[in-house]
Amino acid sequence: MPEQTDVPLIFTSKGNMPCASLSYHHEWTVTEDVIKFREFYRDAAGEIVKDCAHVYLPKGLQLVSTVGGL
């Protein structure tokens, strides 16, 4: 049986590409309203071929009730 070599692949805009051929990057955006984690991959030419974002909403909306007087 021929020896098999598994090459980790990742799905990108250019199809499945070897992870080793890509450079991984990430960045955080932290504000009072949003915390965002972005991770993206560039190919050898520098093009972003995969870009993911994970957003955390730390606080929702407040609806204030007001009752009028008579």
Partner: protein, 180 residues
Amino acid sequence: MKKLKQSFTGLLLPLHSVATRYLARIGAVCYANAQAACTSFKTELLNGIHALGTTVVRGGTGADVFKGALFLASGSRGAATTVYSVTDEVSGSGYSAGGVTFTWIAPSATGTTAFSTPSGSLAWSTVTLATAFDAVLLYNSTQSNKAVSVHTFGSQTITAGNFTLTMPANDSTFALLRLV
């Protein structure tokens, strides 16, 4: 006698006012009515119990189906939004128009605040959304796609990847929807 009664009353009322304020300050029980929207009413609103108008007829007890759809940064979703529409909704590989379905945590109240939050993250897997988007519209697809709320999160694009919206803690301070 009448003048004596008037001056006595004139003395008592201010004293009563001072005493009431003092008792309230020290936390003593004051039997007095207080103007407010009832907390139970707020929770019941979230449960669709009160129909102040005649436009909704409910035959069942199941919760409505709610969805979350993403909108372009160039859009204008906001407080004036009344219903979901495809105008300015994102489009791209892996994204289905109308967005994703979610359920709400059963509404409850703490103190005078009723609240609820989607029970899980809203997620879109392996999508490509090449045009910048920055908002999600939550709407009631059972009730003619009526809008619930708009939440913004900063402009971004997605390329052959995942986009996840994680919800806040479901409590009276941070829940996604809070009626105070």
